[in-house]
């Protein structure tokens, strides 16, 4: 039987606020356990939550950027369950009335097309703390620094049909929240993670199959592996006459497999009800319009602009706009290069990205600034140096030896473009290789490259390659 995969993702994004969603405690990552948990975060008797206005603004930005409705009225509810790292015995979340709903996002497919993925809702909630099971001799340690960290949970429609699409969607959301400046998207620190709902159905069938939910996946690679494993598991199960059980599963990154955590029968009844400690969040049009004015240029719009302004391919523009910082760098370098966008794109995606990867640098702390790189590109454009020598200059720039002009001057790399000088060198090369001339003229035309090489060697690569080609051909073929 031919199976169709149906996937919906729930992405948890940590919002980049300074303080927590309902308290004034800091959200900075990596502090000593329980040093960033105030009375409210500890759930002491008598404390009350107060909503951080910043999270409302951030959620509204996300809603506007995904063509969603930003709800004029949303309500915080309590999700009741017991867990040691959940201090109050309930999580404050939004249930019936989320702040954002009914939007969509377009993802790029591998075949060059694009696909629209529906966004069911995005709601605000507080994160729980962390249970630490190591180093406590059979006991569990609780770190509540994370408790109360603001999260935006983004729930997609079950529109995703493959692991690859899931990754593309997750990357798109990742890029978007960073563009909007509402999350640092740091996956190692848990600022961006997802749950994947996966089910199978015979191709052509309208109703969905029973789904399994894979919890807490924190990398793009793991999402792809976990879904692929789960798809295979479910197909094998179904084809051998079994049924999929609705359950929560965990992805084991070491074994590359998912395994059962708890089944639906063991699932909690969360007893949701509106939190009486918090007022409903009411947003008027003026607020929403004010937020709209603060939206930056979004990735899709920027990508289209790069394609039209710089004649880049869709693919290249997609890579360059994947992060706001990379796109900013590219545009600055292209401007410094006098508008040579195509050249700038090649260098940013080629030499620069390679060097950044090797040195494990982020684009924002690149040793070569966009302006410096642009200076080099200008010298390629105006023929001062060849592309090949430019790489040598780039390496020197990377080491901090100066600007392109300074390095070209110091190392004497200026291209020889004087036709007379080049012709003189060519004649000298021809004089020294009479045998090869004979062979060339006898039909071994491949030897043309040999002569070019000799000329470049004699000029230490500085001769203008185009001129060398032209003059050499003229002299050899005459």
């Amino acid at each position: 039987m031919e199976w169709e995969t149906v996937i919906g993702l729930e992405i948890h994004t940590q919002l980049a606020t300074k303080s927590k969603i309902f308290s004034a405690a800091s959200t900075t990552y990596g502090a000593e356990p329980n040093t960033q948990a105030c009375a409210v975060d500890l759930g002491l008797p008598g404390v009350l939550p107060v909503l951080n206005a910043e999270v409302v603004r951030m959620a509204a930005m996300f809603g506007l950027a995904t063509h969603s409705t930003v709800a004029p009225r949303s309500v915080f509810a309590r999700k009741n369950y017991f867990y040691p790292d959940l201090p109050k015995g309930y999580q404050i979340s939004q249930f019936e009335l989320p702040i954002v709903h009914d939007g969509h996002l377009d993802i790029d497919l591998e075949n060059g097309g694009s696909k629209r993925i529906g966004i069911t809702r995005a709601h605000l909630e507080e994160d729980a703390g962390k249970s630490l099971h190591e180093n406590f001799q059979g006991k569990t340690g609780i770190d509540l620094n994370r408790a109360g960290t603001p999260l935006l949970e983004i729930v997609s429609e079950p529109d995703i049909r493959s692991a690859k699409e899931a990754v593309a969607y997750m990357k798109k959301i990742h890029s978007l929240v960073r563009y909007l400046g509402i999350s640092d998207g740091n996956m190692q620190e848990g600022s961006f993670r997802c749950d994947a709902n996966v089910s199978m159905r015979p191709k052509g069938q309208a109703e969905f199959g029973t789904r399994a939910e894979i919890k807490n996946i924190n990398s793009f690679r793991f999402v792809e592996q976990a879904i692929n494993y789960e798809v295979q598991r479910q197909i094998m199960l179904l084809e051998s006459g079994g049924t999929v059980v609705q359950e929560t599963r965990l992805f084991d990154a070491d074994k590359h497999e998912t395994r059962s955590m708890r089944s639906k029968e063991e699932a909690n009844d969360y007893r949701y009800f509106p939190d009486p400690d918090l007022l409903p969040v009411e947003l008027d049009d003026a607020f929403i319009e004010a937020v709209r004015k603060t939206l930056p240029e979004l990735p899709d719009v920027r990508k289209a602009r790069l394609v039209s302004d710089h004649a880049l391919s869709e693919y290249d523009a997609g890579i360059l706009t994947a992060s706001r910082e990379l796109a900013d760098y590219f545009e600055a370098a292209a401007a410094a290069a006098g508008g040579a966008g195509k050249l700038a794109a090649n260098w940013v995606m080629g030499e620069l990205s390679g060097a950044l990867n090797r040195g494990n640098y982020d684009i924002t702390d690149s040793p070569v600034s966009a302006g410096t790189l642009g200076g080099l590109l200008q010298r390629i454009e105006d023929g001062t140096i060849s592309g090949k020598l430019a790489k040598q200059v780039f390496e020197a720039m990377w080491k901090g030896e100066g600007t392109a002009d300074e390095i070209i001057e110091q190392q004497g790399l200026k291209q020889i473009s004087d036709a007379g000088a080049i012709a003189g060198i060519i004649r000298e090369v021809l004089d020294n290789n009479p045998k090869q001339i004979e062979q060339y003229r006898g039909g071994q035309v491949k030897l043309f490259g040999f002569f070019v090489g000799q000329v470049m060697k004699a000029t230490q690569g500085k001769a203008n390659p185009k001129q060398v080609n032209e003059l050499l051909r003229k002299l050899l073929d005459s």
Binding site: G43, P45, G46, N80, P87, G89, I142, R271, P276, L279
Partner: protein, 484 residues
């Protein structure tokens, strides 16, 4: 000096008739003499109180004193007090020393009032007789075989017995007004949102409101002036200026329109209580008020709605008492489940468990709409009843409780009968309105309370009504035998 009202004591302190330290020592002495019988205090903070009294004396000398500077008072043990045990009447919090102050605690500290201790209460404020306390029942100073009412029974008994001139309380369904009535003192429950709930251990968040016990409406005006106000730490507190409650006490009542809901004078009301209330209302007529018969047709729904909403909210509010971070923890837990079940099983008393179970049930999938949602709809009906009434009248009057103080143990095994002792007070909490209970006579030697309900934020009007009545009556000055 223990017979003097708060206002009189404040005047004496200002004049230097005695110092706050002398007054505080006198209060502490009365507590140690009388409280063994009453059991109204869980904790007495003598050393702290004397230090605060000395500081107050400094302020009195320096001329920076306010109307509460140097006045001893007691906090219901539901308000968090930094460095002092805050038990909420429960074994669960018997070991809990609060690391922070409630907003009300802070405000009274700033006002220079001197806390002498924390008062006994029904466990987590769940009860109408103060019999559910882990620290044992409180006795009514008017008859030690009877209950003082609840849940703020300790605060009410301590003021009635002249151990302190004032105390704080909280009122979720009548927990200030009913004990005030049963103990023959003045009890004020402000509008929901008038007094910050921050640091007041939550029972039912949408109903809880802090207030005060005093011996007169004039004293309550001073207490409320210090306790009320917007608090950015409580999202449900209301950002609205605090009225000058004292300034309006002396307004004449000429033209006051009093509504008498027929539902408050029917079946279930003790006839002697009804007679006392009727006599009090006659006094108001003499003061120039007119009386109008009104109806609050959804009154009969208030107790059932309350016993869905309050347990539902409490079932969630009390989840934080899990033995993990503070409070009672079971010995040698075998695993997490065992830690939870035994810590909570051992830490909570019967009534608290009953309400957690009821509330958990009411919020469960499949029952939520039928119970919680329906109860919230009933709340709107009840509020609308009141709003219609207030279009006609200025205040609504009736009995605070259907009977005078009942015997200890009399209703302890009959929760429904116990719940009905709040039948006249509960609707006010469901609607979020302010209400006052003032002494209005006696039946068989036990005090009767008159219940006065006002429109939203009309506390000044309520206190004015209470004060004017107390100018022409002396019920509020009567002192229980043995405490003169």
């Amino acid at each position: 000096m223990h017979q003097k009202s708060l206002v009189e004591l404040a005047a004496d302190l200002q004049k230097g008739v005695y110092s706050s330290e002398e007054l505080t020592r006198a209060c502490l002495q009365r507590i140690s003499t009388h409280d063994e019988r009453l059991n109204s205090f869980v904790t007495v903070t003598a050393a702290q109180a004397l230090a605060a009294a000395q500081a107050a004396d400094g302020a009195l000398k320096a001329g920076t004193a306010g109307p509460l500077t140097g006045i001893p008072f007691a906090h219901k043990d539901i308000f968090c007090t930094r460095g002092v045990k805050t038990s909420c009447g429960s074994k669960m919090l018997d070991n809990f020393i609060s690391p922070y102050d409630a907003t009300v605690t802070e405000k009274l500290l700033e006002a220079g009032a001197v806390m002498v201790g924390k008062t006994n209460m029904d466990e987590f404020a769940m009860g109408s007789s103060n019999e559910t306390s882990f620290y044992g029942p409180v006795r009514n100073p008017w008859d030690e075989a009877t209950v003082p009412g609840g849940s703020s029974g300790g605060s009410a008994a301590a003021v009635a017995a002249r151990l302190v001139p004032a105390s704080t309380g909280t009122d979720t369904g009548g927990s200030i007004r009913q004990p005030a009535a049963l103990c023959g003192i003045t009890g004020l429950k402000p509008t929901y949102g008038r007094v910050s709930r921050y640091g007041m251990i939550a029972f039912a968040s949408s109903l809880d409101q802090g207030g005060a016990f005093t011996r007169s409406a004039a004293d309550a005006a001073v207490m409320l002036g210090a306790m009320a106000g917007f608090d950015p730490r409580d999202s449900t507190s209301v950002d609205r200026p605090v009225d000058d409650y004292v300034a309006q006490l002396n307004e004449p009542l000429q033209g006051l329109k009093i509504g008498l809901p027929k539902e408050y004078f029917g079946e279930g009301l003790d006839s002697a209580v009804g007679d006392a209330v009727a006599a009090a209302i006659d006094e108001f007529r003499k003061l120039g008020a007119t009386v109008v018969d009104i109806s609050l047709p959804n009154t009969h729904l208030s107790v059932p709605a309350y016993y869905v909403v309050a347990p539902a909210e409490c079932s969630s509010n009390l989840s934080r008492f899990d033995g993990v971070r503070f409070g009672h923890r079971a010995e040698n837990p075998q695993d997490l489940e065992d830690l939870y079940t035994r810590s909570r099983g051992e830490g909570f008393g019967e009534e608290v468990k009953r309400r957690i179970l009821v509330g958990t049930y009411a919020l469960s999938a499949g029952y939520y709409d039928a119970y919680y949602l329906k109860a919230q709809q009933v709340r709107r009906l009840i509020r609308d009843d009141f709003l219609q009434a207030f279009a006609q009248v200025d205040v609504i009057m009736g009995p605070t409780a259907p009977s005078v103080a009942f015997k200890l143990g009399e209703k302890a095994d009959d929760p429904v009968s116990m719940y009905l002792s709040d039948i006249y007070t509960i609707a006010v909490n469901l609607a979020g309105l302010p209400a006052l209970s003032i002494p209005a006579g006696f039946s068989n030697g036990l005090p009767v309370g008159l219940h006065v309900t006002g429109n939203y934020f009309q506390e000044a009007r309520l206190l004015n009504v209470g004060h004017q009545y107390q100018q022409v009556s002396d019920w509020h000055t009567r002192c229980p035998q043995g405490f003169e």
